[in-house]
Symmetry: C2
Subunit: 204 residues, 2 copies
């Protein structure tokens, strides 16, 4: 069973890398699809699931509730339920067959089955350039605004990782391979990554 998880800095091209790697290997890639599955299976609103996903869910509770009382009001339970549902979906997908899973703490959630964990990152300039390239038409954020968003999203990803695990998000000890995409076209690199991934699993 080959399960590859991709953790990534915002703007580093991790999602593109995951998608292209999966295509090259002929296996499915799960990213936003997980949000859709959680929403559909559990009757949540998609946007709400997306809002909760990959964040430290303690943020969604007033500190007095989170610290002093068990959470037991139906509305308050939603973030917990969504996180649990997301984890169940990820485990199910990994059981169904070889796949690539992007983000959502899959590296930690699937720890038992020893996935190959890849971290994708880049320097600030490359991430800015990538964000600009992909910005929807009409979106005119300044560099400062893009960098602020970037920092905020990475902070949320880090908080979610660190909530699930004792290892550090983005620290090399937490991954099997770390790929710096600075100044590189991801498409070009894929056959090399795919070859490495195949050999990495062969060895087990």
């Amino acid at each position: 069973m080959k399960v590859i998880t991709i953790s990534r800095e915002f703007g580093s091209g991790g999602r593109e890398l995951g998608k292209r790697l999966a295509d090259f290997l002929g296996i499915p890639c799960y990213d936003h699809e997980i949000i859709d599955m959680v929403a559909e299976r559990h009757g949540f609103d998609k946007n709400y699931v997306a809002h909760i996903s990959e964040k430290d869910i303690r943020l969604f509770y007033p500190s007095t509730i989170a610290h002093r009382f068990p959470v037991n009001r139906p509305a308050a339970q939603q973030p917990l339920q969504i996180t649990a549902a997301e984890q169940a979906v990820i485990k199910q997908l990994a059981k169904e067959g070889d796949c690539v899973i992007v983000g959502r703490g899959a590296d930690i959630i699937l720890n038992d089955i020893k996935p190959m964990n890849i971290f994708v990152y880049a320097d600030k300039e490359s991430k800015l350039a990538r964000c600009r390239e992909r910005a929807p038409k009409g979106e005119n954020l300044s560099d400062k605004e893009i960098l602020r968003n970037m920092k905020q999203i990475d902070k949320e990803r880090m908080a979610y990782h660190n909530l699930l695990s004792e290892t550090e998000w983005g620290s090399k000890e937490s991954y099997n391979l770390l790929i710096n995409t600075s100044g590189k076209k991801i498409k070009t690199l894929i056959p090399g990554i795919a070859e490495y991934v195949k050999l990495w699993f062969e060895e087990d």
Copy 2:
């Protein structure tokens, strides 16, 4: 021009990885050879060069001299001369053609020519096992002693790196690819790394 530098934690198999990668790519690998070259070209004793290499040379000067006076006594100049000679040899080798260079701050010394910088690391158990496998017959160090040596050597490598550069030794921002060799046979992984390296250079 393809120059690949390998930085590595002690016991991670970085040297083996560098040698095998170079063999696979059909290019030379320079590691201890650099010490021999420095010793031969400059008439230093090999063991003395090895002793100085990859360390923070400030350690070889009494702090009063290092901080207050320019070093100008012939004997005191030797560590400085050896470091300078090593850097000149590394630059010369990189000029001569495609190659792999293991350690010795080559990633920083060659910064101008944009080498591909790889960092090789592993978890403690894997590094211990590798050190045990490679120990000379009759050497019976305890795990504690091996770990102490490991820590000391990595500390020296880190100090040498951080003396030459503002980047951090072992921190992902300083490298293009970080390879975790924990529990893996390096030999098996080489064709994947080689493919990735080729594509990485193609892209420029």
